[in-house]
C-alpha cells in the first residue's frame, strides 16, 4: 500500500510494540479499567514537568519570522516580500522578528524564549505530508509506525500493576491531550492514543433523560472484557483476561477495530467528566486574544494548572502554506502566534506554572529562499522556538550562509537536527532515557538551565 496512508489501525495492528506484546492495544483497557475501579497506579498524579507542542502547519517561512537583517542575500532573494530592517522588530544586531510578531518579541525580551536556528534533518522532504510524518515520527529515513510523543507515553509513562503478577500497565489515557478533532500522529504510540477534543463542552452525552438511561449508556459504553464486541462483559471484575491474538502476536482485524472503538468509548466517557471538572476549577489570570489559537492555549493553561496528570499538550495553528499572497497572510499569522504565546506565558507565570512548563514549536519545513512572486514554495530548514522559565534564552545553533552556492536545492540548509531537540527535551526536561523513544543517541543541546 502507499505507505503514507497508513492509518491508526495500521499503527495499532502492525506497530512493533516497544513494550511487551501484552502491552499492545487492548491491554490498554487495563488502564481504563483501573481508572474505572478508582485504582490508578502510577502516573495518575500531576506530572513534575509539562511539555506543550505547537505545530505551525503548512510550512512556516522561517526567514520572514526570524529575519537576518544584515544579510544581503536575503534581500536579493526577496525583492517583494523581504522585510526591511527598519520595519522589523529588533532581537539582536543580526536578527529581528516579523513586525507583527509583537508578542514573540515580548516573550524574547522577558527572557523566556530560545530561538533555535535552521532546524531540519538530512535530505529534507518537500511534501507536506511526508515532512510532517518525519517530524512527528522522528524517522527521516523510513516510514515509521508511531509518533515520538506516543512512543514516549508508551515507553516512559506506563507502570507496574501493584497487584499480583506486577503486570505492566499502559499509560494513563490523559497522559497526552490534543486540542483537535483528530489525534496528531506525533501522539500516537505503538499502543497509546491521546485524548483529542476541541472543547470540554463537546464531551457529554446529552440524550439520556433519566438516571436509568444514563446508567444504561455507561454499560453500553463499557468494553467487553476481551475488547472484542462479541465477548462477555465482565461486570464484576473490570480487569480483562487474555486478549485474543492472531498469528505473530498481532491482533486480529476484528478484535482490533472492536477493541479500538470500545476503548475509545470508555476513555471518552471516563475522561469527559474529569476534564470538565478539572478545567472548571481553574480561572485564567491573563487576557487572551479572541483567536482560536489563543483560546486553545487558554484551555491548555487551565489544564496545566488543574489536577490532570497530563504531561504533553498539543496545539495546532494552520495556514502557513504561503505559496501566494504571503505578505498579508503571514502578517496575520505572526500576530496570532505571537499574541497567543505572550498571553500564555503571562498566564502561566501568574498561575505559578511557568516553571514546570516548556513549550516548543515546529513546522514541517521552512520555505524556499527565493520568493516566487507573491509567496514562497516549500523549503527546508527553519528556526523553531522553545519557551519557558527553565530554558536558556537567546539564540542557539548556527545560522547558515544564504549564499546561493551554499544553499541546498535553493533552500536553507539545516545546521541542527530536530532529533537533537527531541533528545534534549526528553532527557533534560521529561527526565527519561531518550533512546527508548528515538532508538539512538543524538547530540544534546545546551538548552535548559542547570
Amino acid at each position: 500500500m502507499n505507505d503514507i496512508f497508513f492509518s491508526r489501525r495500521h499503527f495499532l495492528s502492525r506497530g512493533v510494540p516497544l513494550l511487551s506484546v501484552a502491552a499492545t492495544v487492548p491491554a490498554f483497557l487495563d488502564r481504563s479499567a483501573f481508572a474505572l475501579a478508582g485504582d490508578n497506579p502510577n502516573n495518575a498524579k500531576k506530572a513534575d514537568h509539562v511539555l506543550v507542542v505547537v505545530q505551525l502547519a503548512g510550512g512556516n517561512d522561517g526567514l520572514n519570522t526570524i529575519i537576518p537583517v544584515t544579510n544581503d542575500e536575503y534581500y536579493k532573494a526577496r525583492p517583494t516580500i523581504g522585510i526591511a530592517k527598519e520595519n522589523a522588530l529588533r532581537l539582536n544586531d543580526e536578527f529581528s522578528t516579523h513586525p507583527s510578531a509583537v508578542g514573540l518579541k515580548k516573550v524574547f525580551d522577558a527572557g523566556y524564549l530560545s530561538i533555535l536556528h535552521a532546524v531540519a534533518y538530512p535530505n529534507p522532504n518537500r511534501s507536506h505530508f511526508r515532512a510532517t510524518d518525519i517530524w512527528t515520527t522522528a524517522e527521516p529515513e523510513k516510514v515509521a509506525k508511531s509518533g515520538w510523543i506516543g512512543r514516549y507515553c508508551d515507553a516512559c509513562c506506563s507502570g507496574e500493576d501493584p497487584g499480583p503478577g506486577h503486570k505492566r500497565v499502559p499509560p494513563d489515557p490523559a497522559t497526552a491531550i490534543a486540542l483537535d478533532l483528530e489525534p496528531p500522529t506525533a501522539m500516537i504510540g505503538p499502543s497509546y492514543v491521546p485524548l483529542s477534543f476541541r472543547s470540554p463542552q463537546n464531551l457529554g452525552f446529552h440524550e439520556a433523560k433519566t438516571d436509568q438511561a444514563k446508567a444504561a449508556f455507561e454499560k453500553l459504553n463499557t468494553p467487553n472484557s476481551s475488547g472484542g464486541m462479541m465477548d462477555a462483559i465482565d461486570d464484576d471484575d473490570h480487569r480483562p483476561p487474555a486478549i485474543p491474538m492472531g498469528v505473530n502476536g498481532s491482533l486480529t482485524q476484528d478484535a482490533d477495530a472492536a477493541a479500538f472503538l470500545q476503548r475509545s468509548a470508555l476513555n471518552a466517557r471516563l475522561y469527559a467528566d474529569r476534564i470538565r471538572k478539572s478545567t472548571a476549577a481553574v480561572a485564567n489570570k491573563a487576557t487572551y486574544p479572541a483567536t482560536e489559537f489563543a483560546q486553545d492555549l487558554k484551555l491548555v493553561a487551565q489544564m496545566i494548572a488543574s489536577d490532570l496528570p497530563t504531561r504533553v499538550f498539543y496545539v495546532k495553528l494552520g495556514g502557513f502554506d504561503t505559496h501566494s499572497g504571503q505578505i498579508a497572510r503571514h502578517d496575520k499569522l505572526m500576530a496570532e502566534m505571537g499574541d497567543g504565546l505572550a498571553a500564555f506565558v503571562d498566564d502561566l507565570k501568574a498561575l505559578g506554572q511557568l516553571d514546570r512548563t516548556t513549550l516548543m514549536t515546529f513546522s514541517e519545513f521552512g520555505r524556499r529562499v527565493h520568493e516566487n512572486g507573491s509567496g514562497t514554495d516549500h523549503g527546508e530548514a527553519a528556526p523553531l522556538f522553545v519557551i519557558g522559565a527553565r530554558i536558556k534564552p537567546g539564540f542557539l545553533g548556527t545560522f547558515p550562509s544564504l549564499d546561493p552556492a551554499k544553499l541546498h536545492r535553493g533552500d536553507v540548509p539545516y545546521t541542527t537536527d530536530f532529533r537533537s531537540l527531541y533528545a534534549t527535551i526528553l532527557h533534560d526536561w521529561l527526565a527519561v532515557d531518550e533512546t527508548k523513544v528515538l532508538g539512538q543517541q543524538f547530540k544534546k543541546l545546551d538548552l535548559f538551565k542547570a
Binding site: 491508526r8 478533532l181 489525534p183 440524550e207 475509545s264 468509548a265 514554495d377
Partner: protein, 513 residues
C-alpha cells in the same frame, strides 16, 4: 417484521424468469449471496436503508444487485430496491454583479450547495453516485476557505457528480481545467519563469501516483513548468473567473517528464502520468480502502487494478470487479470499516425511514456531520480525510452519539445556517432547535400494535446493527424499554422506544459498517 422475511422473493423470481432477464436472481447460488451480503453491499455501495430496501436488493441476486447499484438498470419486471425520486438540479449561476461575486466568496454562500448535496444523499435511488462523488471530493480535494467561491466549489462538485462513475483519466484532465482546483493549489500563481509547484506535486503525490511512487523531484519541477499558464481569469460578465490557458504565461521550452522530452502542456501531463503503471494501482487501492477494508494486499486489489487497466481507467468496471469479488464479502470486510461522519448520519436517517426534510433540517444535518470531523467542501487539507480510526476521538464519538440520538429523538444540534462556518467549539455551544423525529410506530408497524419488548428490540437490532448484539448489552437495552406493555403509536410507548433507540445508536457497535 422479521429481517428474514423473504416473501417477496418468489414473486420476483417468477417475474424475472418470464421477462428473460440479463441478471436473474437465479444466477446466484443462495450460498453465494445471503441477505447479510445484500445488507453489506447496500451499506458500502450506498447509505444502507430500511429492512425492506435490503430485502428487495437481496431478491435481485448478487450480479443484478451490483448492476443495479452501478448502473441503475434492472431486469424487466424486477422491483426497484430503492424508491425512484426526482431530485432537483443545482442551479449554479455565476453572479453578474461584482457585489454578488463578493457575497459568493463567503462560506455562507455554500450552505444551499451543501444542503442540496446532502438532500441527494438522503433521498436518491442512485446512492453510489453520491458515494463516488464523496470519494472524488476526498481525493481531488479543494476547500471553500482557500477557493473563496461557493459557485466554483459547486461547479467542482458538479464535475464529480458528472464523472462519479466515469473515467479516472478524463476526470484528471477535467480537474486541471477546474477553477476551484487551480485556485486551491495555486496554479493561478504558476507562471513562466516563476513556477509554483503546488499543483504539480499534489497531482502526482495525492491524486494519481502516491508519494514518491514513480516520479522524482525533477519530474515535479518539470511538470510544474508544463502546468504554467493554466489559470483562472475573470471578466465583467464573470467576476469570479473561469478557466483559461494563457500562452503568454506558459513556459514553452522543452521539459523532460518520466524520461520523455517535449514541449509539454497541461493536458500532456495527464497523458504522461496515465501512461505510467501507478495510477491504476493507486486508484484501485484507494477504492478498496474506501469501500472494502483497510490495508489490502496486492492480491486483494488485483481484479480492480486489472479492470482499470483493461478499460483504460473506467470506474464502473473497477467497482463491479470489487463488488463481485469474494474478498468484498469476507469477514475481513464486514463491519471492518468505521463509518465516516457522512455515512453515519445519512445511514441513520435512511435506516430510520426519514425521507423528507426541510432546508433547515438539511443545514442542521450538514453541521452535525461537520461536528464529527467531516465538513463537506472543507477537507482538513489537500490530503483529504484520512478516515478509519482517525474519525474516532473522545469529541467526535460524543458528537456521533448526540447526533444519532437527536435524530431518533427529534432534536438535532446545531441550528443556524452559519454554524457551518464556525469552529467546532462554536458549533458545540449552539442551542439545538431543529427537529427531525423518527416515527417508531411506522418503523415497527409490521410487528403489530402491541409487540413484546423482546420482539421490538430484536427488530431494532436487526434494523440498525444488522447483526446480533452481545447478550449482556442486549439485556441493558431490553431493561431500558421497561416492563409495561408496548402499544405502538401511543406517546408513552413511542418515548420509551425512542430512548432505547437513542441508546442503541450511541454504542461503539453502531460506529462500524
Amino acid at each position: 417484521m422479521s429481517r428474514r422475511n423473504f416473501k417477496i422473493l418468489p414473486i420476483l423470481a417468477v417475474l424475472s424468469c418470464l421477462a428473460g432477464p440479463v441478471w436473474a436472481a437465479g444466477n446466484d447460488a443462495a450460498a453465494d449471496w445471503s441477505r447479510d451480503d445484500a445488507a453489506h453491499l447496500l451499506r458500502r455501495a450506498g447509505f444502507s436503508g430500511t429492512p425492506e430496501d435490503i430485502n428487495r436488493l437481496h431478491a435481485l441476486g448478487k450480479r443484478a444487485a451490483v448492476e443495479y447499484l452501478i448502473t441503475g438498470q434492472l431486469a424487466k419486471g424486477a422491483a426497484a430496491p430503492l424508491e425512484k425520486v426526482d431530485l432537483p438540479a443545482l442551479q449554479v449561476q455565476a453572479p453578474a454583479a461584482a457585489a454578488a461575486a463578493q457575497a459568493a466568496k463567503k462560506a455562507a454562500a455554500l450552505v444551499p450547495v451543501r444542503d442540496w448535496w446532502v438532500d441527494r444523499m438522503i433521498r436518491t435511488d442512485r446512492p453510489l453516485e453520491e458515494k463516488m462523488t464523496l470519494f472524488w471530493h476526498g481525493l481531488f480535494t479543494s476547500g471553500i476557505r482557500e477557493v473563496k467561491s461557493a459557485d466554483q466549489m459547486a461547479e467542482q462538485n458538479q464535475l464529480f457528480h458528472t464523472y462519479a462513475l466515469g473515467n479516472y483519466k478524463v476526470l484528471a484532465h477535467q480537474i486541471l481545467h477546474d477553477p476551484a482546483m487551480l485556485k486551491y493549489l495555486n496554479n493561478n500563481q504558476n507562471l513562466r519563469g516563476r513556477p509554483n509547484e503546488n499543483l504539480a506535486r499534489e497531482l502526482c503525490e495525492l491524486f494519481t501516483m502516491g508519494e514518491g511512487k514513480g516520479y522524482t523531484e525533477k519530474d515535479i519541477a518539470e511538470i510544474a513548468r508544463a502546468l504554467t499558464g493554466a489559470t483562472v481569469r475573470g471578466g465583467v460578465k464573470n467576476p469570479q473567473g473561469a478557466y483559461v490557458f494563457l500562452p503568454a504565461k506558459h513556459d514553452a521550452t522543452p521539459k523532460t517528464i518520466f524520461g520523455k522530452t517535449g514541449n509539454f502542456k497541461p493536458d500532456d501531463v495527464v497523458d504522461l502520468i496515465f501512461d505510467q503503471p501507478e495510477p491504476a494501482n493507486y486508484l484501485a487501492r484507494k477504492l478498496w480502502e474506501f469501500y472494502a477494508f483497510p490495508s489490502p494486499t496486492d492480491a486483494d486489489i488485483a481484479p480492480v487494478v486489472a479492470a482499470l487497466r483493461d478499460s483504460h481507467y473506467e470506474v464502473a468496471p473497477a467497482l463491479r470487479a470489487m463488488f463481485v469479488s469474494p474478498g468484498f464479502y469476507s469477514d475481513k470486510a464486514k463491519f471492518a470499516i468505521i463509518k465516516s461522519p457522512t455515512d453515519q448520519l445519512i445511514e441513520t436517517i435512511r435506516q430510520l425511514g426519514i425521507s423528507t426534510t426541510t432546508p433547515q433540517q438539511l443545514t442542521a444535518v450538514c453541521a452535525a456531520i461537520g461536528a464529527c470531523g467531516q465538513t463537506l467542501f472543507q477537507p482538513p487539507n489537500v490530503r483529504g480525510w484520512p478516515g478509519g480510526d482517525d474519525w474516532i476521538t473522545a469529541a467526535t464519538l460524543y458528537a456521533r452519539y448526540n447526533n444519532a440520538a437527536a435524530l431518533v429523538d427529534g432534536s438535532i444540534q446545531p441550528a443556524a445556517a452559519a454554524a457551518n462556518n464556525k469552529s467546532p467549539r462554536a458549533v458545540a455551544d449552539e442551542p439545538r432547535r431543529i427537529t427531525i423525529a423518527s416515527q417508531p410506530a411506522k418503523m415497527f408497524a409490521d410487528l403489530g400494535p402491541s409487540p413484546t419488548a423482546e420482539e421490538l428490540l430484536d427488530a431494532a437490532i436487526d434494523r440498525f446493527l444488522e447483526r446480533p448484539l452481545h447478550p449482556v448489552k442486549r439485556k441493558v437495552l431490553l431493561d431500558s424499554l421497561g416492563s409495561a406493555p408496548l402499544r405502538l403509536g401511543t406517546a408513552e410507548t413511542d418515548a420509551r422506544i425512542r430512548q432505547m433507540l437513542a441508546l442503541l445508536l450511541s454504542t461503539p457497535e453502531y460506529q462500524v459498517e
